[in-house]
């Protein structure tokens, strides 16, 4: 069994409350006693019991992060940023995915929640926030008093990007991603909106974020179809398309320029290197977690800036 504060108090020859005050640097304890108490604590390898502390103070020092799954680079980057922020502020990350998430929220195992998972019911979140716990939603809508939100504004990013590219390329087509992807939909909207602004008809090919869908579309493209620029909803599709076009003897970007989205590692290893858009997910996660923790300390969310993005111009477009 580990030592309790009782043991420390006994060894130091003081009362429990004095020991508690000393260990928490609170109130008035003489330096002499303090020293004795700290020595005793060290000797007994004392560490306060988290559950007891939580019960008393109603603070768990944990923030819950609820994600849909662990796979893919996005989650690990976001988590990395959040972990960094949590560490800086002395909080722990309780990461959960799946059916147990709602239980953790309901049981108040956390001081606040970051939701990156559309499966958790609104009702649970509202209930939680109503008990004065802060919640930050990522890429999802919900209004409420202690609820804040942050989204990757794919639509706006793509809108601006396409308008920019329009200066150089006349005919711009797009390969979309799957319909159930938040990101794919936003990117598509941004594309459509940009063309609308310029009074142009959108040309849309249906992809699914895979390398193979890029290849398949490349195989169907006839010479007359070729746009000046093909904007792909993600890099994998763009690279698949590029390989297929090269195979058919087309020159990139002369015959058709190609660009993607995400800036995956492989964009640098294809020939020509792929022009793409990078989102700084790590920084985003960091800012989001900081905002939540700020709420825990001051009852106010820190403003979360839009996730940083950067257009990376390379040879492909």
């Amino acid at each position: 069994m580990s030592a309790t504060i009782k043991d420390v108090a006994k060894l130091a020859g003081v009362s429990i409350s004095t020991a508690s005050c000393a260990l928490n640097e609170k109130g008035n304890v003489s330096d002499q006693l303090k020293d004795k108490i700290f020595k005793a604590a060290k000797k007994l390898n004392y560490h306060p019991n988290a559950a007891a502390k939580q019960l008393k103070t109603k603070k768990t020092n944990n923030i819950g992060v609820f994600i849909y799954g662990f796979s893919g680079p996005v989650f690990s980057e976001v988590l990395e940023g959040m972990n960094k922020a949590a560490q800086e502020e002395g909080y722990n990350l309780l990461v959960s995915s799946g059916s147990l998430s709602e239980k953790i929220i309901n049981q108040r195992q956390i001081d606040g929640a970051i939701i990156f998972d559309s499966h958790i019911k609104d009702e649970v979140l509202i209930n939680y926030s109503l008990s004065n716990y802060p919640v930050i939603l990522l890429d999802r809508d919900l209004e409420g008093d202690n609820i804040s939100r942050s989204i990757i504004n794919n639509q706006e990013i793509v809108y601006n990007f396409i308008l920019q590219m329009q200066k150089k390329y006349q005919k711009i087509a797009m390969i979309t991603g799957p319909n159930d992807s938040y990101n794919a939909l936003g990117r598509l909207e941004g594309y459509k909106e940009a063309l609308k602004t310029k009074n142009l008809q959108p040309i849309i090919y249906k992809g699914d974020f895979t390398y193979e869908s890029g290849i398949a579309i490349g195989q169907k493209l006839t010479k007359e179809d070729l746009p000046d620029l093909m904007f792909c909803a993600n890099d994998e599709t763009a690279i698949g398309l590029m390989e297929e076009m090269k195979k058919q003897g087309y020159k990139i970007p002369e015959d058709m320029a190609i660009c993607g989205f995400d800036n995956i590692l492989w964009t640098r290893h294809v020939e020509p290197q792929l022009t793409t858009i990078a989102i700084n997910h790590t920084e985003w996660g960091h800012d989001v977690a900081k905002s939540l923790i700020n709420y825990l300390k001051t009852s106010k969310f820190l403003e979360i800036g839009d996730p940083k993005h950067e257009v990376i111009y390379r040879a492909s477009a």
Copy 2:
């Protein structure tokens, strides 16, 4: 404020203990009362307070996972598997990386720990395990009573693989990874050992797990240097090498066969497709977590099989 068991008891018109027994399906409560109690709980949206429960039962229902960082595919796969196991068994994952990890362990916020991080001090782990908490170490050594271990046996996997390839290829060289990588070192040892068994001299090139290091080595390789097979410590290096060799006009695998390790997505998108070795990290994580949870339920670790691996033969070797 959330409802407590007291509120439930009052609303149902029973004592606290009766309510507790009913809600935990324990002891003897008449069906009639039980029904009343459950209805009251539902009405009040009652959820037991985790801290109080933990304090009393000395069980947190959390298992701690301590990793070195979130980046890279390995951690997300391992975490995914662990999360799945935890979910199946009703446990939560407290994931932490960095300086706060030791605090979580010391404060007994978790019923058991999985350590995938060489930075946590042995002393902390020993102390923890001495208080009867189970610990599983991944890719790391430490002996103890409630301590179990599991490692990816890179050395053995590579040893067997190279012996196998030896039947087809005479001269086998290797590109290593960085010296501070557990995986790189094991793979190198396996290679050396296999050649030794066959009484052959190892031929070793120093890489660093990057695509660029594969290119650089390819540029230095002269025609006379070419081995029959180049075994690369990871796929990125292998692919870099392959691209460079192709650029120089060599035919893969005719002039030199190439194989890698990890089975990253891109191994299927190069020409020729890369022969490589896949480790099932998700399953590994799942098994590890299951083993720990089994200990929590029965005081015995479940046997963890060696992480499953599979040699994936493709056209490059």
